[in-house]
Structures are given as C-alpha cells and as structure tokens.
C-alpha cells in the first residue's frame, strides 16, 4: 500500500487519531496529527510523525476548520486525510474540497454521504431497493393536521424524528393520539434549534427493539462485503455504552438475512469504504433499516477482533485503489468480542461529564485485552470535547468467558483521578439480565436504578488499605500523619 500512500493527515483527535496512526505505522505510512492547545499533551500528538497546532479556538475554528486543515495537508504534501469519526467524517463538502485539492478523502464518496445523511432520502432509497424500512410517513407535506392523519394511519405509539437529526435530538415518542400535536411542535422546535431544519418524519414505534448494525466494506463500483453484526442495544440516551458481537439470541438465519440486506444496500448505492448499516430488530424477528453511518464507527474494534480484519487498513486500501482487498469468503467470525466505553462522567450524579487530572489509568494484566485510548497518566481531562476517554475491547472463545475477561480487565483499569463510568460498566456486565443476553435498547434505562444504587460495600477493606498507604506515604514526603502528630504531641529535645 505504501507505494500509493506515503503520508496521511488525521483530521481528528484522541483515541481515534491514535488508532489510525497505529495502522499507518504498520503500513509504513507517515502521519500528520493536528491538535489544539488543550490536547497538546495527549499521546496522539507525539505518536504522529509530524504535528501541527491549531491553537485554542472553538471546534469550528480548529478540528472542523476545513480550509485550515487543507492548508496544513498541502504544506505537508499528504496523500490522504483520514477523518476518524465525528468532526468532518460525514461532511460531503470536505470530501469535495479535498478532491479539488488533489487529496484523497479516506472515506465514502460525497454522494454516499449526502444520500445517507438525509433520513428522508435515505429511507426512500432503501425502499427503492425493496429493502425493509420502519412503517412511517416521510413525505414533504409537513402540515400539522396532515401529519396527524398520517400518525393515526401508522398507529400509536409512534416516533417523531427530525429529518436531519441524530443522537436523539428532535426525537419524541407519542404514546397516544391526544398528545400528538403538542409533541410535534416540541420536536419541530428542537429540530430547528439543533439542525436548522424543522422537517420531521413519523415512524412506527417498536416495543423492545434491539439495535443491531452490520459492518460493510464497499469498493465504490457496486461490490461490497459484510463483516457481520454488532449488537449495540446497551445505550443510555441513544449513546452506546457496551457493544458486543456476535449478537446474542438470534438465529444464524436471521443473522444471514440482516447481513445480506446490508450488503444489498451497500452494493445498490455503490458505497465506497467502510460503513455501517444500522437496523432495528423487533421482538418478532422483523428488522428494518434505521440509518447508515458513512464512516468508521467508534465500536469498529469488536469487528476487528472477531474477523482479524484491520478496518483502517481496508479503508486506506479502498480509498486509494477503488477496489476491495478482501472477498466475502475470506471473512470469518471467530469467538466473541465486547467493547466497553470509558466515559469521564459521574453515573451517580446524572452522568454529568467530569474533568480532572488522570493520576493512574491502570494496568493491562492480560495482554490480549485491547485498550484504545489517547490518554496517559498525568494528562488532564477537559470537558471541551467528547467525554469518552477510552475503549476497552476483549475477545475470547465464548460470551461467558469474554464477559469475565472484560470484568477482570476493568478491575485493573481504575482510571483514578477522574470520575468515570468504570464501576457502572462492571455492574452492568455482572447484571443478571445482561449475562443472560436478554436485553434491548430500553433495558439499560430500566436497570438504571439498580445499577446506580449504593450497594453493600466492605468499607473495612477500604479503611485497611488506606492505613497501609498512609503509613508508607512518609517516604514520598506526604507525611500527613507524622507531621500532624509532631505538631500536636512532639516536644523538641533541648
């Protein structure tokens, strides 16, 4: 691959920047990192071959400042730009701008991004391929009374979603007909506020749905392969917390159908690069297209663990060769993989984002555990960006063994110094219904009271540990105890 690509700029930060650099290093490709002042001490900056500071402005002036990034890319004569996830990863304008400047965008074609970026258009397109979509209304007529009639036709409960939305913003559940108009106006005002467009779509609301997504790779010419599914139903307010693959409690037949559906879509739209087709799986076993993410996902690592495929490497190959480097019969799923996202947030205080100095991340006792992070001891965690600090990824032969492995890994990764959700993750992994594998997208919220309850703790153990610590602390000059003792009862000898 080195012959076509010699240098890549990573238009992102933190763990995903480190992740992309790792593959580039493996392939002998030089890297350029961009970073802001607050991020200057994070490891991704020094991991890259070259780095460029963007100053300390807002995200719009730094990480998503297209012109500035292109300027840096030209200065360094890079062959391509990897956008990571978030930021400019699904920005079709950016792809076009790069094309104009002769720089390869390591991602899908602008038309792929545009098509899938609009909920209305994407759904229409999926329907045109005779692939399943959630029953609903996705027409231009946005008249409130007309929408209400359509809602009655679909039936309650139903969902009102912002056409240009995502992340749960501008999304409302309507339980009954009489609530419809009120919820509609609040959905529309939220949509206007967040996306500058108040167009909404209506959808059948599925009870106890699961969020299953299929990883695909497309060559941009109509060929595509899948890399199986990821189960992402453990979510809190539409933010994924734990992902696993294979999904539990589904038949091989259903798995095949979902994977084939994703491949049909990727082929049908001549998708280029790595993408993810998100599906809603109903209790009945019916599944529907939800949306397609035209980028590398945060949780891509679990797919890499079960297939052995380096998705970043495939992305770079496809972007520079316009063909696939792997065929479907070469892709196999082995064992079970799980990912836990470590967020700097306080589960016992409404999951408020936290900041602070990271004193001690922990130890990787098991060398098979993958820790994707761009923090090291001594780094400051700020609330300027995403609160996700790290991803812990494990792989083992069976789900049961793997969950045990993950719990063990997390026990050794306390992330001391900043309040994180680590303890919450451990409790979730050990929660009986999680262990049974019987859960859906609303499960975590339903378990929340129990997961956040103060359980029986052995404070004697904590007290004993503290005593051993403070005793030794005199050597490192901390001396709280002895200093105080001397002040209170010591006397100077003549």
């Amino acid at each position: 691959m080195g012959e076509k690509v010699k240098k890549i700029l990573i238009a992102n930060r933190a763990e995903i920047a480190s992740r992309v650099i790792r593959t580039c290093d493996k392939l002998g490709i030089e890297t350029v990192a961009i970073y802001t002042d607050v991020d200057s001490n994070l490891p991704f900056v020094k991991q890259a071959t070259y780095c460029e500071c963007l100053g300390s402005g807002e995200v719009s002036e730094t990480y998503i400042n297209k012109d500035l990034i292109v300027e840096i890319a030209k200065k360094h004569k890079v062959d391509g730009i990897h956008p990571g996830y978030g930021f400019l990863s699904e920005n079709s304008e950016f792809g076009k701008l790069l094309e104009k400047n002769g720089i390869t965008f390591i991602g899908p074609r602008a038309k792929n991004i545009l098509l899938m970026g609009d909920k209305l258009e994407s759904k229409k397109f999926v329907q045109s391929l005779k692939l399943p979509t959630v029953p609903g209304y996705n027409e231009d007529n946005q008249d409130a009374d007309h929408l209400k009639k359509q809602a009655i036709k679909i039936g309650f409960p139903l969902l009102i979603k912002a056409s240009a939305g995502g992340g749960g913003k501008g999304m409302k559940i309507v339980e009954k007909e009489s609530d419809f108009l009120e919820k509609l106006s609040s959905a529309k005002s939220e949509a206007m506020k967040f996306f500058g467009n108040d167009r909404v779509i209506l959808e059948k609301y599925l009870i106890n749905p699961r969020h299953i997504e299929i990883q695909v790779l497309g060559d941009g010419q109509g060929d595509a392969v899948h890399l199986f599914e990821r189960e992402c139903s453990i979510q809190r307010r539409y933010q994924k917390v734990i992902e696993e693959t294979p999904a539990t409690n589904i038949t091989q037949k259903l798995r095949n159908e979902m994977c084939e559906m994703a491949v049909s879509l990727a082929k049908g739209m001549k998708y280029r690069g790595a993408g993810t087709v998100e599906l809603i799986l109903a209790e009945s076993g019916e599944f529907y297209f939800l949306e397609m993410n035209t980028r590398l996902q945060v949780e891509h690592a679990i797919t890499e663990m079960i297939t052995g495929v380096d998705l970043v490497q495939e992305q770079i190959y496809i972007a520079t060769h316009d063909k696939l480097n792997i065929s479907q019969d070469e892709i196999h799923s082995i064992g079970h993989s799980i990912e836990c996202r470590i967020y700097a947030e306080d589960p016992f205080n409404n999951f408020l984002p936290q900041a602070g100095d990271l004193e001690f991340i922990g130890k990787l006792k098991d060398p098979t555990v993958r820790l994707d992070t761009s923090y090291e001891d001594g780094n400051t965690v700020s609330t300027n960006y995403d609160p996700m600090m790290a991803k812990v990824i494990t792989h083992d032969r069976t789900r049961v063994q793997n969950i045990r492995k993950m719990v063990e890994a997390l026990v050794h990764l306390p992330f001391l110094g900043v309040q994180t959700n680590r303890d919450f993750l451990i409790k979730t992994l050990e929660y009986p219904k999680f262990l049974e594998g019987k859960y859906h997208t609303h499960s975590l919220e339903a378990w929340m009271d129990e997961l956040c309850a103060k359980s029986e703790e052995d404070l004697d153990d904590v007290f004993a540990s503290f005593n051993f610590l403070s005793k030794k602390s005199r050597k490192s000059g901390i001396n709280i105890i002895e200093d105080a003792w001397m002040r209170s009862s010591g006397q100077w000898l003549g």
Binding site: D357, E359, F360, G362, K363, V407, L410, V411, H412, P414, L416, G417, Q419, R422, D423, I426, E457, D458, L459, D460, D461, V462, F463, A464, S465, F466, N467, F468, L469, S470, K471, K472, S473, R474, I478, I480, I481, E482, A484, W485, M486, R487, S488, S489, G490, Q491, W492, L493
Partner: protein, 160 residues
C-alpha cells in the same frame, strides 16, 4: 480516628494497627505488596488487589478495590490520632529509640499518663495511655530501636 470515605465519615470499630497489620474486629489485614500504584493486602489470609493514587492538591487518596473507586481522606480532627488509634494500645508513631520507660507490667495507669518516651528526629515524644487500666504487655526497654507503627504497650482496660 475518623476518615472520610467518599465524603462520609467512617469510624472503625475495634481497630488495632501495628507495623504491617491492621486488625478490625476479627479481621486481620496484612500488607503483602505495594508497588507502582498497586497494593496487595491479605484479608484473613486471602489476597485483595487494590490500586491507588494520591492527589496532592486535595490530600486525597483514590483507592480502587473490587472494581469500585473510593475517595479516602483523613477526617477533621483525625490528625495526630492515627498513630494511637485504639485506646488500649500504644503504638510507636515513627521510627526511633526508647528514651525512657516510666511504667512496668502490672502497674496501673491513668488516662493521659506517660508510659514511655520515644526519641526520634531530635525530638522527645511522650507516649501516653489513652485509657485507665493496667499495663498488660510492655515491649521494649530503654535504648531499644523501634520502627514506626510497632505495638509497644497493651493496656488491660478496667471493667466498669
């Protein structure tokens, strides 16, 4: 002695501390290993792994035990009491030399009475009884070197 665990006061019951062990009621904790932010202690013979860090600004330890993080800090007024925790024992607060022994085994002592004097770091430290009672054991003679947290005196408390 009080400490704060997650901002709540924790007062140990039946607490004895010596050089490398802590006894809480019937549970004996021993220090097994302490290295690179990791501490291993044995609890009645079974090992417990913990991780810790210390924040100099807040003077607070973070201790991760069994997958949970606790913030631990000495309580207000806890200063100075940590070295002589349990009322019926006297423990050396630091390494030093026994300068004077003022009592013998079997003798009665009153709360606040000096039992022995320790010389350390050019200072003289009076080690006082924290309770009324009778001297049960007295380990150490004048001139003996003692280490920190060594159990020196046990006092049999008077039954009331």
């Amino acid at each position: 002695m009080d400490i704060f665990i997650n901002k709540e006061v924790f007062t140990p019951v039946d607490f004895i501390k010596s050089k490398d062990q802590v006894i809480l009621g019937k549970t004996v904790y021993k220090l097994v290993k302490r290295k690179d932010n990791e501490i291993i202690i044995s609890k009645n013979g079974k090992n417990l792994n913990a991780y810790y860090s210390f924040n100099h600004k807040t003077q607070e330890y973070s201790i991760s035990l069994s997958g949970r993080v606790y913030k631990v800090k000495l309580g207000q007024g806890g200063h100075g009491e940590l070295s002589t925790q349990s009322s019926n024992v006297i423990i050396s607060p630091m390494p030093g030399k026994i300068f004077k022994v003022l009592k013998t085994v079997g003798q009665d002592v009153k709360k606040g009475e000096t039992v022995l004097i320790l010389e350390a770091m050019k200072m003289e430290h009076s080690l006082k009884a924290k309770t009324d009672g009778k001297i049960k054991t007295l380990k150490g003679r004048v001139g003996d070197q003692v280490s920190a947290d060594q159990l020196l005196v046990e006092i049999e408390e008077l039954q009331s």
